[in-house]
């Protein structure tokens, strides 16, 4: 139903512990943010994409579709960096240093987005969310988060069906109709969400619900060596960046 989510469940890396994937992509993400953009960002992007499209077999078309949204923001946002406002040249003028600044931000953000997306494409939330208690979140909160995750698909499904029905009666044929349709869709979803919560309450009471949503979470083996291996690419990128500068390349 959601492309990233659906792909995560069929990922060959699904059985890898979420913590290992977090260290792998998180480490690269930190490199992209904290190290000088050139050359760290391109290296991060190459390593992350090689892992993602190689062993993790992330579907490239779904990846491209998902990456489009943040890329659009990054490119629009970078436009503002090209200009300078209220300077001596007038109200708005091209900034001679702007292109370099925009390129740096675009490069850094693009590399970071790759890391974020590839983590999402290989880590199903059903595997990740129940383990959030391990990092110290209160169990009541984690239960609510997991519940929202389940219920959002039910609600999303309703939203799509209502929207299709509205479109069939030309509810999106003009701007005014569109606003009326989205408004009535929102109201219908609100009513249905709360109705669903009440029915789920009854349904779960039959299964012994008394306020706790305790479930059995299967242990996934997490070896320290696997964590260390997951951190290795980030360490290598950092080392390569350091040696790049120590060799005086940017001069």
């Amino acid at each position: 139903m959601l492309a990233i989510d659906a792909a995560a469940y069929t990922s060959p890396w699904r059985r890898v512990h979420p913590a290992a994937k977090g260290v792998f992509f998180g480490g690269l993400l930190v490199c992209a943010l904290a190290l000088p953009t050139w050359p760290a960002a391109p290296m991060v992007a190459v390593v992350a994409l090689a892992a993602g499209f190689g062993p993790a077999r992330v579907p490239p078309r779904a990846f491209a579709r998902a990456a489009w949204v943040p890329l659009l923001f990054i490119l629009t946002g970078s436009l503002a960096l090209l200009v300078t406002v209220g300077g001596p040249q007038g109200a708005v003028a091209l900034d001679p240093a702007g292109a370099a600044r925009a390129a740096e931000v675009t490069g850094r953000a693009a590399a970071a987005v790759c890391c974020q997306l590839l983590f999402a494409f290989t880590t199903p939330l059903a595997d990740l969310l129940p383990r959030l208690t391990r990092i110290g979140l209160p169990s009541a909160l984690v239960e609510v988060i997991a519940l929202i995750y389940r219920m959002l698909f039910v609600t999303l499904d309703s939203a799509r069906r209502i929207q299709t029905a509205q479109a069939g009666r030309l509810g999106y044929a003009g701007r005014r109709a569109w606003i009326r349709s989205v408004g009535s869709l929102g109201a219908a979803l609100f009513v249905r969400s709360f109705d669903r919560a009440q029915r789920m309450q009854r349904g779960l009471e039959c299964r012994g619900y008394t306020g706790e949503l305790t479930v059995l979470v299967e242990e996934l083996p997490l070896r320290p060596s696997a964590l260390a291996a997951a951190a290795l690419p980030a360490v290598l990128v950092a080392a390569a960046t350091a040696s790049y500068f120590s060799l005086g390349a940017p001069l």
Binding site: I4, V30, G77, V105, A140, A159, Q201
Partner: protein, 223 residues
């Protein structure tokens, strides 16, 4: 308008996370307190969270003929109150980042501050002020105006805060923060101002229906 992963320098990302944290912690506390007081609340909060997510995934018409998404902050703040929205909004933004690639993980704090803290508080304040200021125009008109102001101003507030965040991160080399704020705000205003108006109108339609269909549910929420 979600700030993408990696767009903010890491120092800024960390700072906004620190700024948003107390609001979120307060929201989470009031949420867990509600759950502990009433076991039924857990499923209702789950439903509210799922509703917030789906609401912000709906498509609304925007100025260029393409479409965009409502922020949902105005409606959420009026229905669930700003503290709860700080928690629910954070969860929604986390899911948006992981499921839709809207917004990032390191920029989560910055996005939470604009969309789950400032937006709801502005919306809620606007709702209360307009509601009392327009009481003499009759119940329906007053509610319509208050809801429209809440949703439109809530949406505008999130966009303004995002522009401030970007301007602080990338000050103009000549004119500093103010110049850069003008650039970002000007660039995004083309799409965001009409969107705020549309979101206001949509939210009025939603509330009008809710007051006729589920008045008792709204009373329970204290609207």
């Amino acid at each position: 308008m979600h700030i993408a992963e990696g767009f903010l320098p890491w120092q800024h990302a960390a700072a906004w996370t620190a700024v948003a944290a107390p609001f979120v912690a307060h929201g989470v506390r009031s949420l867990t307190r509600a759950v502990r007081a009433d076991p039924d609340a857990k499923l209702l909060i789950g439903a509210a969270g799922a509703f917030s997510f789906v609401l912000s995934a709906l498509k609304i018409p925007s100025v260029t003929g393409s479409c965009s998404h409502p922020t949902g902050t105005g409606l959420g703040a009026v229905l669930f109150r700003p503290p709860v929205m700080a928690a629910l909004g954070t969860i929604t933004l986390l899911f948006q980042a992981l499921l839709l690639a809207h917004g990032g993980l390191t920029t989560l704090g910055a996005n939470v501050f604009s969309m789950a803290v400032v937006g709801p508080w502005v919306a809620y304040t606007a709702f209360k002020l307009v509601r009392s200021a327009t009481a003499r125009f009759g119940a329906q008109t007053s509610l319509d105006m208050a809801v429209f102001s809440a949703a439109a101003l809530g949406s505008m507030a999130t966009y303004t805060v995002t522009s401030v965040q970007l301007a602080l991160a990338f000050p103009d080399p000549q004119s500093g923060f103010l110049g850069s704020f003008t650039a970002f705000a000007g660039l995004f205003s083309i799409t965001q101002i009409p969107l705020a108006v549309v979101e206001g109108l949509v939210t009025v339609v939603i509330m009008r229906l809710l007051t006729t269909v589920t008045p008792e549910q709204l009373r329970r929420l204290g609207v």
